[in-house]
């Protein structure tokens, strides 16, 4: 257990040095070090700051920081009294530069942890701010009870052309959630089309299917989507691409039609 002997804002006592704090952050600290962090507010705050930085760095893109910006940022950082930070000075400057830059673009809780840090340095109680800023982002709350379920058919107006391939995008808002994707009518598109789960998390449903067998023409029901909605809402649909059996691109109309509602 590496304890530094520097004084803290709240009095004179031992604290973990930066390396030990980072071990605790990474889950590699000894039981004594982990216990110390649980009991010592200052160390707890600093571990949280390290954790925040590490998390921010995970998603951060490499950015060239101009030297004058770097100097300006560094000049805002108060000189640390404890030797631990001096060990990390080189990398900490870069980390802090990115972290402080990120505070301008990240959600509010990222700013909160810096506030918590600033408050604790002044001897204040940062527990409440810490609690807020370490909370996991909850998904957007969705009202489940009392919702209604509705089936929406997806039609492609192919006219006299043979519809061999199609790709569409459907956008939902907070009032609607997709709860199933079904195939269409006829053999060509009976299997449910695949969707991109990543896009769906953003409320977008991209569907696509093709057939190398006989292709239908006219008004083709290519899919049915099952939706749970809090209130009646219009889904937006747009064609991304469509092709005829000869591989020729064309732009048929795409329509959504509600077919059944539970309430």
């Amino acid at each position: 257990m590496n304890l530094s002997d520097s004084a803290t804002a709240s009095g004179s006592m031992d604290h973990l040095d930066g390396l030990a704090q980072d071990r605790v952050r990474a889950g590699e600290g000894s039981p004594e070090e982990a216990r110390h962090v649980l009991e010592c507010l200052q160390c707890k705050v600093e571990v949280e700051v390290l954790r925040f930085m590490a998390n921010a760095m995970k998603d951060a893109q490499a950015v060239e920081v101009p030297a004058e910006v770097d100097r300006a940022i560094l000049s805002t950082i108060p000189r640390r009294r404890r030797p631990a930070w001096s060990l990390l000075a080189g990398s900490a400057a870069a980390i802090l530069a990115v972290a402080i830059t990120l505070t301008f673009v990240l959600p509010a809780h990222a700013v909160d942890v810096v506030d918590a840090y600033a408050l604790s340095r002044k001897g204040g109680d940062a527990t409440e701010i810490l609690r807020r800023c370490t909370a996991v982002d909850a998904p957007r709350p969705r009202k489940i009870h009392g919702n209604r379920f509705v089936a929406v058919d997806v039609y492609v107006e192919a006219g006299d052309r043979k519809l061999a391939a199609w790709q569409i995008e459907i956008n939902t808002d907070d009032r609607a959630a997709i709860v199933g994707v079904e195939g269409g009518a006829g053999d060509a598109y009976r299997d449910p089309p695949t969707y991109d789960p990543k896009a769906l998390q953003g409320g977008k449903l991209v569907l696509a299917a093709l057939t190398t067998g006989p292709a239908p023409s006219g008004r083709v029901r290519v899919a049915r989507i099952h939706v749970m909605e809090t209130e009646k809402c219009e889904l937006e649909v747009r064609l991304i691409a469509a092709a005829t059996t000869g591989g020729e691109r064309f732009e048929p109309k795409v329509k959504l039609e509600r077919t059944g509602e539970s309430r």
């Binding site: 605790v24 370490t134 489940i144 009870h145 919702n147 199933g180 695949t194 998390q201 049915r224 939706v227």
Partner: protein, 723 residues
């Protein structure tokens, strides 16, 4: 959700009491089940016929003649049958080989025993799961498996079917389709709680809906709501998983039944074993109903595995089941379960040996529009086989709990005996047996002298399976006694792994492992592979599985082959020439003789990447450099993104156990699972048919009871049914 669970439990109790005349059974003290039963029966107005235990009446007299007469439909396996003209699925038909393509060779192999045999006066229990059909395609070392569960409502009221079933512990479940007639509805991956709420809401509004949740990495629950009387609904689940590989031999396995778990006193997060109709009595969050020895169901399973090995296949066999094998080409094999071996009460295991130097392709890659994914087989250095290992301190930990009673304990004894015979003169050894508590054979490890080995064999032979499975006591006894500085410690577990506190066990191993290595033997027909593989992974050793119909010789010899030579340890990978990221597993396991390790990762860019592998062999540095052409890998496989994401979830789940920043890991697991559309402990698949509302209320919840695994004694593992 808590309310919903309570409701399921109460409704399940309705099923338990359904066969009884009103008032013939007394609800458990303090419970409200009696009131719930009366309310529920009044609401649904089921017309029931009396069954001996807990079934609802099937609509139409023809559906289940046994219910009227107590004369049972019999499936009797005769001694000496040759695999023809009998069986549950195709009774009365001859078992013939495929007429479509003339196979090069056809083998019918039958293992010794293991079949569940129906007897006269058995009770046929009507259940909502009619049949399970499994189709697997194996390419390189990745299997793509589709499991079709066929649900059918044999009662005259609407039901919700609930089925607890196993999948391989590394299964990347990535597709879920609900089939209603000829309509196919693809399920949506959502956060678990949200998916459960959507399912409940759809169920209450009368829509046909289904929900798939994960209880353990190898245990899942399928819920299907609002199945109308006489109607059928299929659920298609697709997953990928990697085959085990050792010394030129691949192993595909498909688990068919969840074994009965032992849960420590005070535990509520385990998996409770209950008799049919006993739902809600175990006190555990997850429960599984077992058929009593005199109960049978019509549920059976069919399975087909199509192997494309990429190299000539020298040998194909199933040590667990009777199979038909077709060989359409030298590199391919199609294996099907024989119709007389279709009772889902044991793991299906298929092994095949390929020619040449073994594993087909060292590097497999796949590129999507954003980035690439790769899987790479790290082979142990050839030089390992020439270096002898130092003296060993062998600690054998033998599970002698109730679930091991009968055949499994006898196999453990044979395995132990072979292990003892292979001890080297310089070794020391200790034997620890655990059930309700742990007992060591001697105060301290003994030298491997002939006298001590003889004494050890007598000690092992005296063991019988009974009592609980307090594995923690066995782990502490094996890992926490003082270490011999002159020897390196090998701890060898022999267990079926039937415990419900896997995470507690992993935590204890992680804390106490020190410099020891764990080699875990899974013994039995349906072992808990999640536990066994976890012991091997966290214990930095390896695993082997011995089925009821197998000799343990091969598994023991494999163990000794590995521990007789040092491993390549402390492995570090350095990449250059391409942007490689997030290699899984995060900590590369030791490389033992005959046991390669598969790593996977993401990459950007193209061309040749250089991998420098550094490690230690017997304390000395070892370096290897590999050149990998990402543009021209040995193989391409579209499943690699899902396989990588599943490995990432496994790494995060391990970190969740051992680090204080649990919330970060949980969020990361959720993020990966949603991005790649995979099942996890935080995500679930839900599918709703919103186009139609079924008539009536939500229906009765009917759990699907399953047979106890082959070789496991019902009496010692499932609590007695309350009279």
């Amino acid at each position: 959700m808590k309310r919903a669970w309570t409701e399921w439990v109460l409704l399940a109790l309705v099923v338990a009491f359904a066969g009884c005349e009103s008032g013939s059974r007394t609800p458990s003290p303090g419970s409200t089940s009696g009131r719930a039963y009366r309310e529920s029966t009044a609401e649904h107005e089921f017309s029931r016929r009396k069954l001996d235990d807990g079934g609802l009446a099937a609509p139409g007299a023809k559906a289940d003649p046994s219910c009227d007469t107590d004369e049972e439909l019999l499936v009797v396996e005769r001694e000496g049958d040759d695999g023809e003209n009998h069986g549950t699925g195709d009774r009365g038909k001859n078992w013939t080989k495929s007429p479509v393509q003339k196979p090069e060779t056809v083998e019918i192999k039958r293992p010794r025993g293991g079949e569940l045999r129906a007897r006269l006066a058995d009770k046929l229990v009507p259940i909502p799961l009619k049949h399970t059909d499994v189709k697997a395609q194996v390419s390189i070392y990745i299997a793509s498996v589709t499991v079709k569960q066929q649900y059918h409502n044999p009662y005259d009221g609407k039901i919700e079917a609930v089925y607890l079933f196993p999948l391989p512990d590394d299964a990347a479940v990535r597709d879920f389709i609900m089939v209603i007639g000829d309509r196919r509805i693809r399920g949506i991956i959502r956060e678990r709680e949200e998916a459960k709420q959507i399912y409940q809401e759809a169920r209450h509004q009368g829509h046909v809906a289904s929900l798939l949740t994960q209880e353990r990495p190898n245990i899942f629950t399928q819920f299907v709501a609002n199945i109308e009387p006489g109607k059928s609904i299929d659920i298609d689940i697709t997953y990928f998983h990697s085959l085990r590989y050792s010394k030129g031999e691949y192993e595909f396995h498909f688990p068919m039944v969840v074994g009965p778990r032992y849960n420590s006193q005070g535990s509520m997060d385990g998996v409770g074993a209950v008799p049919t109709g006993g739902t809600g009595t175990s006190g555990q969050k997850t429960e599984i109903s077992y058929l009593a020895p005199d109960e049978i169901t019509s549920n059976d399973i069919s399975l087909e595995v199509d192997v494309d090995a990429g190299l000539p296949i020298e040998k194909v066999e199933s040590p667990s089941h009777i199979v038909q094998i077709e060989r359409p080409a030298a590199t391919r094999a199609t294996v099907r379960l024989a119709p007389n071996d279709r009772i889902p009460n044991k793991d299906f295991v298929l092994r095949y040996r390929v020619g040449g130097k073994g594993i087909a392709s060292a590097l497999a890659a796949y590129r999507d529009k954003e980035q690439g994914y790769f899987a790479l087989v790290l082979q142990p250095p050839d030089s390992l086989e020439e270096i002898p290992n130092s003296a060993r301190e062998m600690v054998f930990v033998l599970d002698v709990s109730g679930s091991m009673g009968g055949a499994p304990i006898e196999i453990s004894k044979r395995t132990m005996e072979r292990c003892l015979r292979r001890l080297a003169p310089g070794d020391t050894f200790q034997i620890i047996c655990f059930a309700g508590c742990a007992n060591a054979m001697a105060e301290r490890p003994l030298p491997a002298t002939p006298e001590n080995i003889k004494r050890a064999m007598a000690y092992v032979q005296a063991q019988n399976g009974s009592g609980g499975t307090e594995m923690l006591t066995g782990i502490r006894a094996a890992l926490e006694f003082p270490r011999d500085p002159e020897r390196y410690r090998i701890v060898s577990f022999m267990t079926d792994g039937y415990i419900g506190n896997e995470q507690e066990i992993f935590g204890a191993v992680r804390r106490s492992i020190g410099g020891a290595r764990i080699f875990a033997f899974g013994i039995g027909s349906s072992v808990n592979r999640y536990l066994i593989e976890g012991l091997g992974r966290i214990g930095r050793g390896t695993t082997a599985f011995v089925g009821l119909d197998e000799s343990s010789e091969k598994a023991v010899d494999g163990l000794y082959q590995r521990i007789e030579h040092p491993a390549l340890t402390d492995i570090r990978l350095t990449w250059s020439g391409a942007e490689i990221a997030e290699v899984q597993p995060e900590t590369i396991p030791d490389l033992f003789v005959g046991r390669p390790v598969v790593i996977s990762g993401r990459f950007r860019g193209s061309g040749v990447a250089t991998l420098k592998l550094a490690g230690k062999i017997a304390g000395k540095d070892h370096f290897t450099t590999l050149s990998l052409n990402l543009d021209e890998p040995g193989a391409r496989h579209a499943a690699l993104p899902a396989v990588w994401a599943r490995a990432k979830i496994a790494s995060l789940s391990d970190r969740l156990l051992f680090t204080p920043d649990g919330a970060d890991c949980a969020g990361a697991i959720r993020g990966v699972a949603l991005e790649y559309g995979l099942m996890s402990q935080y995500t679930a698949f839900v599918a709703v048919d919103s186009s139609r509302v079924t008539e009536g209320a939500t229906g009765t919840t009917v759990p699907v009871p399953v047979p106890v695994p082959a070789g496991v004694q019902y009496e010692t593992t499932v609590p007695e049914k309350k009279k």
